[in-house]
């Protein structure tokens, strides 16, 4: 695990040494502010719409952050040094995830001013805010894992970002498609869609099935990174 932490710390530092990390964090916080302005037009001190918009924004953030993890490093030629070091692929996968999760944490933390602002103007229910933030973290980590898997499979950062967005949109479309289908296929597609697993967080509940879904997404993403790195050899 020490190797994974070393990789994660290095990646996190590298992201914030460049303008990219600060830009991503600032852009996510700014977007959260803009969304809040729109969502408060109903003059109600509730944040469920705001959180649901942030879940979508997380998809964009994941696509941007994950493309740097492998694709950008391969393009720069530094991935060869990492993969010829005495580290296991799972340590590389976890380390890369930790690195991008650091940025995710910073980006999410930067939005806390929004619920504080709403609290100063009204009396929003604290439960959905807490579960909303828990959901943001869980969904963010899951989306980042998907992004890492795509990033590991291509040396092109642009393709990695677009590929991540495409996979996440496909998962979202699975939910849309499920609405027009019946039977077992409906249940499968419904389960596959992240949309059906974030509603609990918006309502102030944490369901084990929703947590399990995003943890599974994270594990599948990491396992895919390990498989892809092995296959690349």
């Amino acid at each position: 695990m020490r190797q994974a932490l070393t990789i994660g710390a290095r990646d996190l530092r590298a992201t914030y040494v460049s303008a990219f990390g600060i830009g991503c964090t600032a852009a996510f916080a700014a977007l959260a502010g803009v969304l809040l302005v729109f969502d408060l037009r109903g003059n109600q001190a509730r944040l469920d719409l705001w959180f649901s918009s942030l879940f979508v924004a997380l998809g964009l953030l994941a696509a941007l952050l994950a493309q740097r993890a492998f694709a950008e490093e391969e393009r720069a030629g530094t991935l060869e040094l990492l993969l010829t070091s005495p580290v296991r692929f799972w340590q590389v996968a976890v380390g890369k995830l930790l690195g991008v999760c650091g940025v995710l944490l910073a980006a999410i933390a930067a939005t806390i001013v929004c619920p504080l602002l709403v609290s100063s103007m009204g009396n929003p229910d604290a439960g959905p805010i807490v579960t909303g933030y828990f959901g943001l973290l869980l969904v963010g980590v899951g989306f980042l894992s998907v992004g890492l898997a795509v990033s590991a499979a291509t040396p092109n950062p642009l393709v990695a970002a677009a590929g991540t967005a495409a996979v996440l949109v496909a998962l979202w479309l699975a939910g849309v498609l499920a609405g027009s289908l019946g039977g077992r296929l409906h249940a499968v597609l419904q389960y596959l869609s992240p949309t059906s697993h974030v509603t609990g967080f918006l309502r102030g509940t944490i369901a084990a099935t929703d947590v399990a879904y995003f943890l599974s997404m994270t594990l599948v993403g990491l396992a895919t990174v390990v498989v892809v790195l092995g296959a690349r050899r």
Partner: protein, 305 residues
């Protein structure tokens, strides 16, 4: 001597393309082994398989007795690798990057500072420790790439074009360093500079089209390469061709204009040819050795065949 690295019948395919096949050689402890070959010969693929970046589709690589296929992490712990690209993260300072590499390669916490300082000193980066890598010249970035290969004090060094892009003084310093490192470690050195390989290596591996053409002492290789003589005579050149063709060690003799070109082997070829021509009563106006027994000649002979 014992082998630090053993490459045994290694092959690597990319789809239907066979990049290298049946590559076999070993790098002994206390040796700098040269890896030669034209572009596309499979040198980089061989090095990548040796360092575990690529998997061998056939054969085995043993690093200090550890099988790369069975225990890649254990095997890589013994290797310091400087890739051809020498790509190093530009956003980090030199010392931060070396500390990161030391941690990644499991250098004990207590020994880390000393290891980083030693790598900085060996690579000639003493005054550059706090400089961001992105601000360094290509030559210094090349040194950073070398320093990271040394930071965990590996038994085996795999260096792909380590002097490419360096100025003449840096080239000389790096060669001295490689020679010094090669006294106690197993060093595989790939270089297009044949003079560099001839100076540093006792043995070379010559690759072409993914196959090993020769694993040989430099001295044996150069001794077997042909000497090329150009003779200007006062008599009939065709008669000279007739005389020298019958001599031992002469591989070929032809007339080009008013010059007789003789190719053959042996240190005394020039003396013997001159004596034979004079003994035949032909005036020898001029005799020039245009190439003789160099590694370059030996290498070119091998890859042209």
């Amino acid at each position: 001597m014992t082998a630090g690295v053993q490459v045994i019948g290694v092959g690597r395919r990319f789809g239907s393309t066979e990049a290298i096949a049946d590559v076999t050689f070993d790098v002994e402890k206390g040796e700098v082994l040269g890896l030669l070959g034209p572009n596309g010969a499979g040198k980089t693929t061989t090095m990548r398989v040796m360092t575990g970046y690529l998997r061998a589709t056939a054969g085995r690589v043993l690093v200090d007795g550890v099988d790369m296929a069975i225990d890649p992490v254990g095997a890589r712990q013994h290797i310091g690798y400087m890739p051809e690209s020498a790509a190093v993260p530009r956003e980090m300072t030199v010392i931060a990057f070396l500390r990161y590499c030391a941690r990644l390669r499991r250098v004990a916490r207590g020994a880390r500072q000393k290891s980083v300082a030693a790598a900085l000193r060996q690579a000639g980066l003493g005054g550059m420790a706090d400089a961001p890598i992105g601000t360094l010249s290509k030559g210094y970035r090349q040194r950073v790439a070398l320093a990271q290969a040394l930071v965990h004090d590996p038994d085996v060094l795999v260096l792909d074009e380590p002097t490419a892009g360096l100025d003449p003084r840096q080239v000389a310093e790096t060669r001295d360093l490689i020679a010094k490192l090669g006294r106690t470690r197993s060093v595989l050195l790939s270089s297009h500079l044949l003079s560099e390989v001839a100076n540093l290596c006792r043995r070379v591996v010559v690759l072409d089209k993914g196959k090993v053409l020769a694993v040989s002492d430099v001295a044996t290789l150069t001794a077997a390469s042909s000497t090329r003589l150009e003779l200007r005579v006062s008599g009939d050149p065709a008669r000279v061709v007739q005389i020298v063709t019958a001599m031992a060690g002469v591989q070929d003799a032809t007339v080009r204009g008013d010059v007789v070109v003789v190719k053959g082997t042996g240190d005394d070829l020039g003396q013997r040819v001159a004596a034979a021509v004079v003994d035949a009563g032909i005036g020898l106006l001029e005799q020039r050795v245009t190439s003789s027994g160099t590694l370059e000649e030996a290498y070119l002979n091998l890859v042209r065949e």
